[in-house]
Amino acid sequence: MPAVKAAPRHRRRSSVAGAVSLLAAGAAWADGAPDTSAWKCEQCPFLEGYSGDVEIGALYAHGANFSYGQYTGIDRSTTYADVAAAGQYRSADGTNASFDLEDLGLASRAGTASVGREGRFDVKVDYDDIPTRLYDTGATPFLGAGGGNLTLPAAWVAAGSTAGMSALAATLAPVNIEYDRRTASLLGTYVASSAWTLHAAFRHEEKDGTGLMSGSFLTQAAQLPQPIDYVTDTVEAGAAWADHRASLHLDYTGSWFKNDIDSLTFTNPYLPLVAGSTQGRLALPPDNNLQQFALAGNLPLNFLATSFTYAASFGSLKQDEAFLPFSTLPGATVPTPAALDGDVHLSHYALGLASHPLPRLSLRGNASYDGRDDHTTPLTLAYVVTDTFPGGSALTTPRYSEDRTRLEGSADYTLDRWVRVGVGGKYLDTHYGPDQLVADTRDTESWVHATLDPLAGLTITLKGGNASRKTSGFIASALPAAENPLVWAFDYAPRDREFFTLTASWQATATLTWSVDGFFANDDYRLSQLGLQSVHERRASTTLTWTPRETLSAYIDGGYQRLDMLQDGFTGAFTAPWQAGDSEHFWNLGGGGQWAVAARWTLALDYLHAPSYGDFNTQVGGLAEPFPQNWSRLDSVRLDLRYQWTRAAQLHLRFIHEKYDSSDWALGDVGPATIPNLLALGVLPLAHDVNLVALTFRYQFGAAASAPPP
């Protein structure tokens, strides 16, 4: 984390009037452009030649595991190479090249390199690796983790419950749930003329490793290591035309997702519920492809300082992976047709407007339409329940379509140089296709705001409003047969919302800045008899920064969030209704600073404390049943000490202590055989206690070595 936060929040001034004069002024300046033939720029230190730096060192992490290695790649206690390099070259004719390589010794390595000619073309290559490290505490008896066929050891003893699996303890082997996302990109830009620019990009992404999924035989299940072997290739190409009157951008995007492992087959670890049900098979994500054409641009008008923006796109999403057989049971066939021929049409149109019809008045509006139209032919299938029970009633696959029309608008008026007021609103009309619980929903939202500058340097913005969602009648026939008709899925359900925000920033002195941000919102699903009833959200944050001089700066920041959810349930006529609540709290408190201790020494320190608490409870017939509290606690201290050895050489010592601990009733004390009908991986709640020390030597070469520091 950067040692010193940037100065928070801009100061809003009574500037609407300026907007009109501004555009006029800009035009005047352009028209009154001077003769620049004598502007030699002789003192301009343009980059020429090469420059760069190399960082070489080592870091040692003690106590590192997957919990710390998530996204960092520092996932075990060992020594890692800490290597980075950057450089650039530029010739007088504008030919240039650059590269930037980071974290080469870690699984989170990234790099970029480019070559080009100023104002003519650029070609760039990017590489990025994101390591996802989920759990290193799991174990499974299944053999073949990482592949598409999981079997059990020869000595396996199947049983009706996990307690009876007598060979379990002897056959458990550790399994890591981890995968890497590696992305390589090639991008090019060509400036064809002063108005036209062409661009193209190809991105190849590989995601491979092991995820976590489950396989079930209706009443018995097992957590399984899921093979991940995905490749996504994306092509983007387009042209942009722009001059001072308008702009037009035309783009094509094609994206092809490919999964080389189309299914995960696994041996039933339980005694089969019916004869022959000894193997299960799960479908893995099917290959798909997306093609999209888009145009977008703007049209600025000098008339009333008005500007239009526009966008449109059309595309289709297709999927035609061959179906698996209905079941692993003997005699199961592949359905006809043998693939979905899935085809979803995507469309988007949008117009935006910004205008200043009066010097003190500004108007903004957006209108958009989004369509997701599923043209896939529904299929009617007599499915086999969990590779166990054939002969289920034939069902027709529902297809989901919706289109949304969204209107937004706002008006702001500057009453005086210290106060600006505004009103705004949104309207969202969503039409749902067949097979859904409602035909349409209509969301409306309105708000008012005021921005006050009562003192120099102090800006306060207050905003409050409410929103409401109304729906067409509930279409009970769209509910699955067993579903309770009193439940109204919350994404369709009528909802009332009220919200309020407060933001303030105060530059108290030239060196001291304080900002605060607060938000609350209450959602009430007023017509839902079952399901989600309400969501209450509270947020508050503050930051104080102090920069007494160029060589010293400090900050303190903190935040608190609370989220409360309440939902109702009902099991049947002879049981009491029940209620479940989830109350979550998050805190963060940070502080730190940067100090140039002496001419060659710079010290930076950051501290972070971030706990969270989650309280779940159920209430049956009015009797409260609280769960043990889920919690997490993150404490982190980072120290950076830099010594400028010579003009070109620098030493950097970094120390990080980070401790994270958590409690989770869904994972804690849940071993592989804890649950009678779930053979679990037994992963533990995340925790780490890491001390990391890194020492690196940085050497600058070329022009950078003699240039002023950045």
Binding site: H10, A311, Y349, N366, D387
Partner: protein
């Protein structure tokens, strides 16, 4: 559903209506420029931090699109005519446009300088954006004289954005989060701060289109779809951070029971009796509902009706 052709016709008609000829701007008296351009400025403004501008794309003499290209107005391209400022030996800053959140120039005035070049390219959707409506100056986010603008680097961008978006700063530290805190993802992976025609300044037209740019395995269309997945990922996930695994809003079974109350196990209350000290329940522990309904994003299995295959 309305006919797409009708929508397209309406869109084109509105666009055509918008393309009325521009009215020429009023022309004011042109302020005077300096005599020698950047050489006039650099005589006094020789702070190394300012000179780092010459390591950036804005100082490329062979790029005629930039301020230091052929015929460019150099420093005054952004800061405005400085003739009076030079003649007064710096004592008359009036007319000079300064930049930043605490600058004397208003955000609108600052931004007009930037938009003079960028309103047709990077910022072509700026005018109707929420950031423009909130009068955010470009320089509140961009550090133009720095050799490496922090907001343009994946590793440092989130710190810049959360200077204002402070609630999202707290989100960075939640147990489940996207890799922003670790510097492996930027806010701009999902959001278009210069304007977007999608909701929440998203880079995609919809929430789902944005998420599936990276999570292409969930794009489908699947044989058996899960309606809220096809509609909007944020029905179940909190993209900025969560205390629950996989960025979920709350955890199964409660999340699932917010919509599903069918006869049998979906309607049964799952209380603490189902914890390991009592009668450990597969409905509650480990993955909860997804212990069996593992294909919650959709299934392409012919027998995947209940999202179990």
């Amino acid at each position: 559903m309305p006919a797409p052709a009708a929508r397209a016709a309406l869109f084109i008609a509105l666009l055509a209506g918008a393309m009325t000829p521009a009215v020429a701007a009023d022309q004011g008296a042109a302020p005077a420029y300096s005599a020698k351009g950047a050489d006039s400025c650099l005589g006094c403004h020789d702070d190394p931090a300012l000179l780092s501008l010459f390591k950036t794309k804005h100082a490329r003499p062979q790029d005629d699109r930039g301020p230091f290209g052929h015929g460019g107005l150099q420093c005054e391209a952004c800061h405005g005519p400085g003739g009076a400022h030079v003649r007064a030996r710096g004592k008359q800053p009036a007319g000079i446009v300064d930049f930043g959140p605490h600058a004397l120039a208003t955000p609108a005035r600052q931004n007009a300088q930037c938009l003079g070049c960028h309103q047709s390219n990077t910022a072509h959707e700026w005018a109707a954006s929420q950031h423009a409506a909130s009068e955010v100056p470009c320089a509140a986010c961009h550090t133009l004289h720095a050799a490496h603008d922090p907001v343009l680097a994946t590793a440092t961008q989130a710190e810049v954005c959360t200077t204002c978006h402070q609630a999202e700063h707290t989100d960075l530290f939640k147990p489940s989060h996207h890799p922003l805190r670790e510097g492996k993802m930027a806010c701009t992976s999902c959001h278009a701060p210069h304007g977007s025609q999608g909701p929440f300044l998203l880079v995609g037209n919809t929430v789902t289109e944005t998420c599936t740019r990276c999570h292409a395995e969930y794009r489908g269309p699947f044989l058996w779809e899960h309606q809220p997945v096809a509609e909007d990922c944020s029905n179940c996930h909190s993209a900025h951070g969560s205390a629950q695994p996989a960025l979920l809003k709350t955890r199964p079974p409660f999340l699932c029971q917010q919509c599903h109350e069918g006869a049998g196990h979906p309607s049964v209350p799952n209380g603490p009796q189902g914890l390991p000290g009592g009668a450990p329940s597969a409905y509650l522990l480990a993955g909860g509902c997804v212990n069996c309904h593992t294909q919650v994003h959709g299934s392409n299995h012919p027998s995947g009706r209940a999202l179990m295959r």
